[in-house]
Amino acid sequence: SQTIHQWPATLVQPVGSPLSLECTVEGTSNPNLYWYRQAAGRGLQLLFYSVGIGQISSEVPQNLSASRPQDRQFILSSKKLLLSDSGFYLCAWRDWGEQYFGPGTRLTVT
């Protein structure tokens, strides 16, 4: 069966610091991978998706970036965090129409 991992689970970072969140998927090959952000009172916002190694599509222009160095690894990064980057970050993979989510990373920018 497929399993999706995210780390860290929680993170507190000062404004202006860099960010790296990692997501890995087990039990499937060449998955479509997604990064979402969930803010309080708002729906899930799609940030990036990837259909393969090195292939990244950005949905929302901002100071975040994503990379896919390996088939089952998806990384979300930032060079300088903003207060508005605080939120719950979710990685997901897609099987036909359905998406399956990881446990999430709670990011607080102070």
């Binding site: 599509s57 979710l90 129409g97 998406q99 990881g102």
Partner: protein, 112 residues
Amino acid sequence: EDQVTQSPEALRLQEGESSSLNCSYTVSGLRGLFWYRQDPGKGPEFLFTLYSAGEEKEKERLKATLTKKESFLHITAPKPEDSATYLCAVQPASGGYQKVTFGTGTKLQVIP
């Protein structure tokens, strides 16, 4: 632009008190409508996919139905463990599988 509106925002039920959650959507051609359950501090858990009006799916105490404009998640005789936020999402027929719009959810609390 695709839109998903869920109501109510919050719902408090006594154990055993059946009710329904609503998901109204606007999309130019529907490929699929999804229901997820999300527990506090965790990622959403997939529940159902509905593809066409009139379709129904069931899982334990949950039953999801779909019309051309909305979907309902019926909860029959809920238990405290059904307490969670329920999310609805739509995927349009055009634009590939990447485009999914989520609602803000209904937070359900079931009181013993």
